[in-house]
Symmetry: C2
């Protein structure tokens, strides 16, 4: 097998060069590729199938909370983008501008949406009249464009896929509840489905979304100790409503402004999946998000009955609700094993003539390479149990990694030393000043990831300026 294994092109090891390892995995697992269009991705079948599973599961969870899907135009006229002051400042420098339609110049240029708050607001201003029209809980699945200078597959690209929810409510309380509800939905999805533990918290004013009153975030820790913002939920209060004049007649006939939220998760999360679970053999996918959960590899497939047996097992497993493939290509078993591993398929089932004699198969876990011999009489039951075990093991391993790489620092020197020498989250107290955040970023490269909902009182003074502390913050370098 060692010899065969080389037939699958090797990837850089994580410890040698994490960035190169990431690029290698993306490429060799055939998740995506660069396009001729600078900074844009081609998402290949293996990558898109993961996104489809993410969409399906998130969409189901959204709809359970009353979300309705809609579709808004791809273009935003410049005058519309400019209606909310903070918002335009945040986005105007990074949008793509359309100036010509067909052979004619446009009277007003339009940008390709970087996000659709302004379009939803424009629509809500016409569509909402009375308290009976509220709440509006709309979402759309689409692509957005942000003109980034440096790009990396999934993590930062000029176009990416996402969903963006935009809601309008009668009261501030209801908007706040929806903002938190969606953040928790994202967090539960990451933990239960993607097996990625996250820290739930609020962004500081410096890091919040352009135009928001409050931004909540979930932050995940990658294998290299860098953080990745994995989903955000914003409460806009009535700021956009005032800019766009979105008013409704209340029960007492008074005119009131609506309160709004927005929330999004993008293909970036596929980058998190890769960097949280992957290893030196390639991608590792949790069973609940793997497009192919089980790969059956026939051994000595030229022998009579082996391929037929492999097909029979496939049909049994599919009937039991798993997604299964048989690798009946003309490659060697060793090549197939390595290929399965590169693609992150959670469980491999090996079946050969000797196994058939003994009425058994071999199960091999992707996460820890553990082999188990099972009787074919228990095929469905044992594979199901094994997939559950893998899902849990991946979460536990990732959770242990976060815990082992979350530090505390009370003093400035200790803080700087930790950031510089121990990749991970650093918990430290903060006075609430933008100046301290800026100094920390300048000196260490770390940013405030969030003020976690679960606050702790590590000390009573700011780790940076020593003034009285207001909040405990998770700090870290981030993607």
């Amino acid at each position: 097998m060692a010899k065969d294994k080389k037939m699958v092109e090797s990837i850089t090891s994580m410890s040698e060069d994490f960035a190169q390892w990431y690029t290698d995995v993306v490429k060799k697992a055939e998740l995506c590729d660069y396009a001729s269009v600078k900074g844009c991705m081609v998402i290949k079948p293996a990558g898109y199938a993961i996104w489809e599973k993410i969409q399906k599961e998130l969409d189901r969870r959204f709809k359970e909370t009353g979300v309705e899907n809609v579709y808004m135009p791809i273009f935003i006229p410049e005058s519309l983008l400019q209606k909310e002051k903070d918002h335009v400042e945040g986005f105007a420098p990074e949008v793509a501008w359309v100036t010509h339609g067909g052979l004619e110049p446009l009277q007003e240029r339009m940008c390709v949406r970087p996000t659709s708050e302004t379009l939803f607001c424009d629509f809500y201003a016409k569509d909402i009249h009375s308290y009976r029209d509220l709440p509006r809980v709309y979402n759309q699945w689409c692509s957005v464009v942000r003109w980034e200078k440096t790009t990396r597959p999934f993590l930062r690209s000029r176009e990416f896929l996402w969903q963006e929810g935009h809601t309008a409510h009668a009261t501030a309380e209801e908007a706040e509840a929806r903002t938190q509800q969606m953040l928790n939905l994202y967090a539960d999805f990451c933990e239960e489905v993607l097996a990625i533990p996250v820290v739930r918290g609020q962004k500081t004013d410096k890091e919040k979304f352009a135009g928001a009153e409050a931004t909540y975030t979930i932050e995940a820790l990658m294998h290299d100790g860098k953080a990745l913002q994995s989903g955000t939920s914003h409460n806009f209060g009535d700021g956009f409503a005032k800019a766009f004049e979105i008013q409704y007649a209340a029960k007492d006939n008074s005119l009131q402004y609506v309160h709004q939220t927005s929330w999004g998760m993008s293909t970036r999360i596929i980058g998190a999946l890769i960097m949280v679970h992957g290893d030196d053999n390639g991608l590792v996918l949790p069973p609940k998000i793997a497009p192919v959960q089980i790969m059956i590899v026939p051994v000595q497939q030229q022998k009579e009955g082996v391929l037929e047996k492999a097909q029979e097992l496939k049909e049994r497993l599919m009937k039991a609700g798993f997604s299964v493939k048989v690798d009946d290509s003309d490659k060697s078993p060793g090549w197939k094993f390595a290929d399965c591993e590169m693609r992150g398929i959670p469980l491999r089932v090996e079946i050969g003539p000797k196994d058939m004699e003994k009425n058994q198969a071999v199960l091999v876990r992707r996460d820890n390479h553990e082999k188990t011999f099972i009787s074919l009489d228990e095929l469905e039951e044992k594979t199901g149990e094994m997939l559950d075990t893998i899902q849990k093991a991946l979460y536990d391993k990732a959770k242990a990694h976060v815990e082992a790489h979350t530090y505390e620092a009370a003093e400035w020197d200790e803080f700087v030393d930790t950031i510089n020498n121990k990749p991970g989250f650093v918990k430290a107290m903060w006075c609430g000043c933008k100046e301290c955040e800026e100094k920390i970023k300048e000196v260490t490269g770390a940013t405030s990831r969030c003020m976690p909902f679960k606050q702790e009182q590590l000390s009573d003074k700011c780790v940076c300026c020593g003034k009285p502390a207001k909040k405990m913050v998770y700090w870290g370098r981030a993607y």
Copy 2:
């Protein structure tokens, strides 16, 4: 009820003004709305839910034939669009051009994709090396932009949603088989799911897709006798492969060009659904595509137990696999009945205190307003049968409409008279010359819709020029 009915805003009747009727239905059934962005739509929840059902069913059928989903960039650099001569001529006049990224002008302008042949070709040229890499059967769900001058909701808008399949094959035969397979898939979907009968055939050279060797189409007939092209499938031969140098090493090691196809269906088909099945009370949706199949309307809902009973019926019907809602709003039953009809919900279930006494409910069909009393013991069975009956009745009615509005003409005067006075398809023989097609369009406004696969020999000479006929063609005015 007559009085209550007025509470639901009335719509223009079809016979009075079909175009206005269409606009009214789109608006009152809340399918879509105009956006501030000229020529673009806001697809509202009721419209988007139909699109989601179309997507789900088409995607399932695609995947059964081996289709894999991917995602290509939204932008096409100008030089890429220009690689295939016919293609650029067809599309360049109607694209939106991006000239600036952020604050900087681009070195090369890019258009927002009007269709993605060039992007797939560019990708395939890098990605396909050997016969082992073939076939490639990729599809993407996305939005495209075409800078139309006049627009109508769903039928013609500057941005629309669609899927576009793009395949590459080793042989011409395989490409041709895939082109026909996908056309038949679209036709079966329209007939089985949307209850829309279609004519399957080939486009003339004048009407085929820019860059294609052959374009196949399905043509549906709207209630007003105008045709709507409802899905197309193109065989490109090796034309694009030569322009983009997409070659593979064959088994004998010779370098060969691939043969390609593309095929698409768009949100336009929602326009067809409206115009084939709708009536003067609003939208009529076939049960297999209706996001809500059954609306339960409680009568005298203030009476004890009525709302509870309605909820109980809803749960029973949902458990049986139907999509069901209860209208428990504070509107009158008459208002609710009219509202259900406007939205095209296939079946209404009425339940009141008297029905409860008799252990019965009233089923009312949307398509023909027929009422049936059923015992609650048979609720699931009878509603299921009724939905099947409605699905079939809608198809039969539409089929009868096509048959009643399909004419034949052997002579020029008869042809012109039929086109001018009898809205529908006119079958007539054609010599194969572009000049005759142009003359017919100029004189009658009708275009060649397709050369149907089922050819008939109506006469031996062209209806226009009298020269020997080559093909029987369906002619008609079209959307």
